[in-house]
Symmetry: C2
Subunit: 316 residues, 2 copies
DNA sequence: CCCCCAATTTTGTCCTGGACAAAACCCTCT
DNA sequence: AGAGGGTTTTGTCCAGGACAAAATTGGGGG
C-alpha cells in the first residue's frame, strides 16, 4: 500500500488521477507515447508528478473535452497551448448570446463565492417570473454560460461546484415548500451509472412537480437492473433519464434499449439533456425532450392521451 | 476503447469498479490470490463478471468496511458469508438501541418508495423537536439502521438512493427557507475526491447553518488544490471535511496533512463522519467532530476562543 | 457539391505477473 | 495489561504488449 501524500509536495500517480480525473492507465500510456508528463521517480521507481504537471494535465483535459485531439495537445509546447486557449476563447464568446441573463454579474458572484448574491438572484427571478421560468430562462442558459467560462479558464472546478450546489439547494428548497394535489403520472427520475450530473435531473423534476406530477427521484448513477425493479415497485408511469453532453451516444442507445426491453409497454421512457440525441427517439416507447421548456407540453400530451376527458388536464 | 455495456448482461472490469467501488487492480489481485471472483472471458480475453459477482463483491466490500478481513471473506463459501452476516446482525441489533426511531415503519416506506410517508415523518419530527434534533436524533440513527439493513440484504441499492435523495431534498429545502443573521465563522464544506457521499456534509451544514454560521458548500469530490484556493478566495475560517466509514484512514491522513500544510494556520480544519478516525486529531490544527450532535458545541468553542466577549456567542 | 461508406490512424483500456511497502495481526517479554 | 518486534496480509505500482472503438481521412456516387 503506497501512500499518496509525500512530504516533498510531489504527487503519486493515484493522487494525479484524483486531481485530474485521468485514469492511471492513460497517464502511463501518454508518458510512453508522447513523453508527457515525464514524472520523476522515487527510490522504488514510482512516479512522482509535480503540481505543474497536474495543472497542465487539467488544462489538456479541458481542451480534450472540447473536441481537441490528445495527440495534438500532448505534443504541444506551452506556447502552442496558449494559442489554442486563445482560439477557444474567441470561438466561445462569439457564439454565446446571453438573452437577458446577467452573465457578468453572476460570474463575479460565483468567483467571490457569494452565497447571498446568487440566492437573491434566484429569489428575485422566482418571484418575478415564476418557478418554471427560473429553470428554463435563467438556470438553463446559465449552465451553458458557466460551462463556457470554465473552458476559457475563467472559472475553476470549485467555482463550478459552488454554482451547482447553490442552484440545487435553491431548487430543492423551493420544491420542498411547494405541494400540489398529486396527480398522475407517477414519474421515476434518475440517470444511468456513468452519468453523475444530477442538476439536469433536478431541473426536470422541478418542471414536472410544478405541474403536479408525482416525482420520485433516485438521484444519479443508478444501475440498469435497479432502475427496472424500482420502476416496477413504485408503479411508475414514466421513467425519466437525463444525459449530459459528454455522455457517449452509443452507451445511451444501448442503455435505453436495454431498459426499454425490460420494462412493460405501459411505462413510457423520457430522455432529456444535452446528450439526449435525436436518434434515441427512434426507439419505440421512448420520447426525447428537446428543451427543458417543453417538459410541461410533454406532460400535457401524456395526460391528454391517457385521460382524455379528465379534469387532470385542466389542472394546468 | 473497450465498452462497458454489453448485450449479454455481463459486466467488464471497469463496470464492476464503478458498481462496487473496488479498483481494477484489486479485483485482479483478488482473482489471482483467492480465486474469487472468477469472471468468464470474452473473445479478446477480457473479464466478464456476472451480476451475481457484483452483488457478492458489494456485500464483501460492506463487510470489509465493517472491519472484516478481505482474506477471510474472499475465501468464504456462501454459507460462511451467511454466517458472518448473521453475526453482524446480532452485533448491530444489540449495539444500536433505536431510541424512539420508528425503524420498521421507515424501512417499509422506503421499500414502497413512499415519498409522502417519509416527508411526513421528517416534517413531524422537525415541528416537534426542531431541526438539529431531526438531524442528530432521526437522520443519523436512520443512516446506521439503513446501512445495517443493506448488509442483511433487506434493502437494495435503489432503496438506499431513494432514502438518501429524500433526506437530502428535505434538509436542503428546510435550509433554504431558513435564514439567520450571518455570523462568523465562514465555513467551507466539502469532501475529498474519493468520497462521494454528500449526505454527511449536508447534515453538518444544517447543524452549522442553524447556529448562524456562514456555510459555503462545494458538494463532494473536490480536489485538494481546489479546496485550498477556494478556502483562500472565500476567506474561510474553517474547512469542514466529511469522511464515510469506507474511506481509508491512510488516505484521510495523507489528504488532511497535505491540506493542513497548504492552508494558513488561521484556518481551522474540522473532520467528521464515521471515517474521521481519532488519529486525525493528532495533526495540529485539525479537530475531529466525533458525533453530529457535538457540532454546535464545537462551534461555540470556536466562537468563544475567537470572540471571547462578543454577543455572537450569546446568539446561541 | 454534399453525403455515405470503407480504409487508416489515433486513443483509451485491458492484459499478465512480478514487486514491494504499509497495515494488520500475533506473539513474546516486561 | 501494555509495549515492542516479527510475520502475514493486502492494496497499489510497474512494464510493455495487445487490441477494439472512435475519429479522421479518402474516395466514389447521387
Amino acid at each position: 500500500m503506497k501512500h499518496d501524500a509525500n512530504g516533498s509536495g510531489r504527487l503519486t500517480i493515484s493522487a494525479v488521477e484524483r486531481e485530474t480525473g485521468l485514469p492511471k492507465d492513460t497517464l502511463r500510456v501518454w508518458e510512453r507515447r508522447y513523453g508527457f508528463p515525464q514524472p520523476a521517480r522515487d527510490e522504488a521507481g514510482e512516479r512522482l508528478y509535480t503540481q505543474e504537471d497536474v495543472n497542465r494535465l487539467r488544462l489538456i483535459r479541458r481542451l480534450i473535452d472540447h473536441g481537441w485531439r490528445p495527440g495534438k495537445l500532448l505534443a504541444a509546447s506551452e506556447a502552442d497551448l496558449q494559442r489554442i486557449i486563445e482560439a477557444e476563447r474567441v470561438a466561445s464568446t462569439s457564439v454565446a448570446p446571453d438573452g437577458g441573463v446577467p452573465t457578468d454579474e453572476v460570474l463575479a458572484a460565483i468567483r467571490r463565492h457569494d452565497v447571498p448574491a446568487l440566492r437573491d438572484l434566484f429569489q428575485r427571478t422566482l418571484l418575478e417570473r415564476g418557478l418554471q421560468a427560473l429553470v428554463s430562462d435563467l438556470v438553463a442558459p446559465l449552465n451553458v454560460v458557466i460551462g463556457e467560462a470554465w473552458i476559457r479558464g475563467e472559472l475553476g472546478v470549485p467555482e463550478e461546484h459552488f454554482y451547482t450546489e447553490q442552484v440545487q439547494s435553491f431548487l430543492r428548497g423551493t420544491l420542498a415548500g411547494y405541494t400540489r394535489p398529486a396527480a398522475p403520472p407517477r414519474i421515476l427520475l434518475t440517470t444511468l451509472p456513468e452519468e453523475e450530473h444530477g442538476l439536469g435531473l433536478l431541473m426536470v423534476e422541478v418542471m414536472l412537480a410544478s405541474e403536479g406530477a408525482q416525482c420520485c427521484s433516485l438521484g444519479p448513477r443508478m444501475p440498469l437492473t435497479d432502475i427496472r425493479t424500482s420502476a416496477l415497485t413504485s408503479a411508475a408511469d414514466i421513467v425519466a433519464l437525463s444525459f449530459s453532453a459528454a455522455y457517449p451516444l452509443r452507451l445511451a442507445l444501448a442503455g435505453v434499449r436495454t431498459l426499454r426491453d425490460s420494462l412493460p409497454d405501459t411505462v413510457d421512457i423520457w430522455v432529456g439533456g444535452a446528450g439526449a440525441h435525436e436518434r434515441l427517439a427512434g426507439i419505440p416507447g421512448v420520447s426525447v425532450i428537446g428543451a427543458i421548456r417543453s417538459v410541461p407540453d410533454a406532460l400535457a400530451e401524456w395526460r391528454a392521451a391517457r385521460f382524455p376527458d379528465s379534469s387532470i388536464v385542466a389542472l394546468n
